[in-house]
Symmetry: C2
Subunit: 387 residues, 2 copies
């Protein structure tokens, strides 16, 4: 299939691109390298040095003989997007090209407005371009489980059937996002729902949980093919951060009590889920929502697993409960459905001791590059920071 | 009370400003005259010529001896907004300053993106400025009943209590907006909800129905104090348009069967509702939603009432069912709750024959100014227009 990956330089976009290329699809990817700019702003770096995208694509060709096409450009430039879709005419589009960090969005008015305009306008441009050039293309959009927040009822996959005053309807599941970033994804979901309704576009919204993991089959082929692994307080997801803290002997930074419970998945399952969505497309006019995660954990569950993994590796890992910089419930009900991707054939990589030990040992070989200043959360949700 | 009206040059903003000034409040208003620019773009004009804002404010001073302060600026310019709130330190802010037309938003990619960025970024700037300069100020935000769409269950005021799989929670009412404009208001609602939660701002979201009417007590004081009354297919609301069509002998333009049912209210009740919200503010941290309308009608109900009003005035009024340019249900359940403003003391001006006859006779005195080219809907929701 002709597949277009948006945000192909990123943590998930790059391994996704390699995977589709490896299994024989015709892959084009775009990026505007905004993420590398944000890293410079924040003074943070991924754990492993990441070659430029052009260098990685050349290496991929050297190693596999396969070609990944690259277009450099910004979704917020609609002329770029229109020309791109007119030229590529993809059968599927995988859309990772958004500012993905809640703390980044919560820093200042500037980063909040930037996150919402970048994410919302980029996606609007994409929808208008699809309508004009490839209305039958399947849009696979990365959403987030964070759109739902933590309601006191079971979280369904996108829709809920409500009986109220004797009448029944199936409605979009109510959203209670917890940051300006998460809000941008809710805005996207509403906009895409509408575009599917009026223009009969076909879209799958993958409401993804928190991703952990450092390697995939393809990143392991060559060190120049590895992906951008973050452990810092801005872009680092919680388990990735804990494992790096464990390796360098810094207490794990748990926010508050650590009772916050979320859905999690292995980076290899992100790729598997995206592929399952691509091979089983939504129908014209359909806005389909899958909850994309494999297991639920609380932050303390993950901290304890990290302590145990450390013990197995001869590391003495401790836990530090920091004042929670976020406004969120630390003790709450959480039961999110996630059967639709399983029904399509997802075979989860669960968070086993073997996986934890493998990640820990991979991190250990790069311990010398860790910047310990980047662990501490310095972006509070409530108080204004000096600007 | 020190009250700040955003969008004070508009159909509702200007009469609202005069009313608060008349009853003794200290009124400041802002506008960037964007609406007058959109009118020029579309080649349409309000029924009555509207003096400039500065001229109207001078006339208000002449007629009443009262001062309304004016600041000219754009909410999307955050430096303007910060300076404004720092100087004015209002006790209440009434926020009308958004692009308010669904058809305008549906014209092109440019107008869709403009509508969403203008409305969402303007409101974000306002929230950040309130947080910094006046976190105890009460924000009264004009939303729209169109945020809810037409679900097959009763529409509650902002929130719904859901029992699901044996558990219960009160959640934001699911939103199914029907245009890029209505989507922008849903995005606003989510953003304001979040700001109230994390920064303890106090906000009232007035999910307003479709407004009709041409005069208020204050607009009647002098012809230079009248407000911008639209009857065209872009900014004209349905009953206002029907009455002008009746006067000039053009068939009423009903979209499709006309079974579309919505909540409606008299412009005088808009002002009454805003005042009730201002005098009974939300609490810190509260995001309160009122459904602001007084009666439900279908489009055909209003067409028939217009035919009858025409008959009483000696006019032969006919009805034309046009292909519906919008994507919307033309036959649907609709029962929206609207008791919270009544509980605060709202005394509705219902759509009586007297009201219809008064509007019709007012329109008749200006029949010579009507531009009949501006009635026909030329903005389809589904098909792309030549750009």
């Amino acid at each position: 299939m002709r597949i277009l990956i948006l945000g192909g330089d990123g943590y998930l976009g790059w391994p996704t691109a390699m995977h589709f290329s490896a299994v024989g699809d015709e892959v084009t990817l775009i990026d505007n390298f905004a993420k590398r700019q944000w890293e410079l702003e924040e003074g943070i770096e991924p754990l492993l040095p990441i070659p430029t995208l052009h260098r990685r694509v050349r290496k991929w060709k050297d190693v596999t003989g396969k070609t990944i096409k690259v277009h450099v450009g910004d979704l917020c430039n609609h002329r770029f997007v229109y020309k791109l879709l007119d030229e590529v005419r993809p059968e599927a589009i995988v859309h990772y090209a958004e500012q993905p960090s809640a703390p980044y969005s919560m820093q200042t008015r500037t980063t909040a407005v930037y996150t919402q305009t970048n994410n919302v306008v980029g996606t609007l441009n994409l929808l208008f371009a699809m309508r004009r050039y490839c209305p039958n293309t399947h849009l696979i959009k990365l959403g987030t489980m964070g759109e739902y927040g933590t309601p006191n009822i079971d979280i369904e996959e996108g829709y809920i059937t409500v009986t109220h005053n004797g009448r029944t309807d199936t409605l979009p599941f109510p959203k209670q996002p917890g940051s300006f970033y998460h809000l941008s994804k809710v805005h996207d979901s509403h906009n895409i729902t509408f575009a599917c309704r009026i223009w009969k576009l076909a879209a799958t919204d993958l409401n993804q949980g928190v991703v952990y993991g450092i390697t995939t089959k393809e990143t392991d082929l060559d060190q120049d093919l590895r992906t951008s692994f973050h452990y810092d307080h801005v872009f680092g997801t919680v388990l990735n951060r804990f494992l790096v803290q464990a390796v360098v002997g810094v207490p794990l930074t748990v926010y508050g009590t650590g009772g916050q419970t979320r859905g999690f998945l292995d980076i290899r399952d992100t790729i598997q889920c995206v592929e399952l969505a691509a091979r089983n497309p939504a129908k014209p006019g359909e806005f389909r929502v899958f909850n994309q995660f494999t297991e639920q954990f609380s932050v303390m569950d993950l901290a304890k697993k990290t302590v145990e993994a450390g013990r197995r590796a001869g590391l003495n890992v401790t836990i530090d409960h920091l004042p929670n910089p976020r406004i969120e419930m630390e003790s709450h009900y959480y039961n999110a459905k996630h059967s639709k991707l399983a029904d399509l054939g997802l075979k989860p990589h669960l968070l086993t001791n073997e996986m934890l030990d493998h990640m820990l040992s991979t991190v250990r070989t790069h311990a010398g590059r860790v910047n310990q200043d980047s662990f501490r959360p310095t972006i509070p949700w409530a108080e204004e920071r000096p600007s």
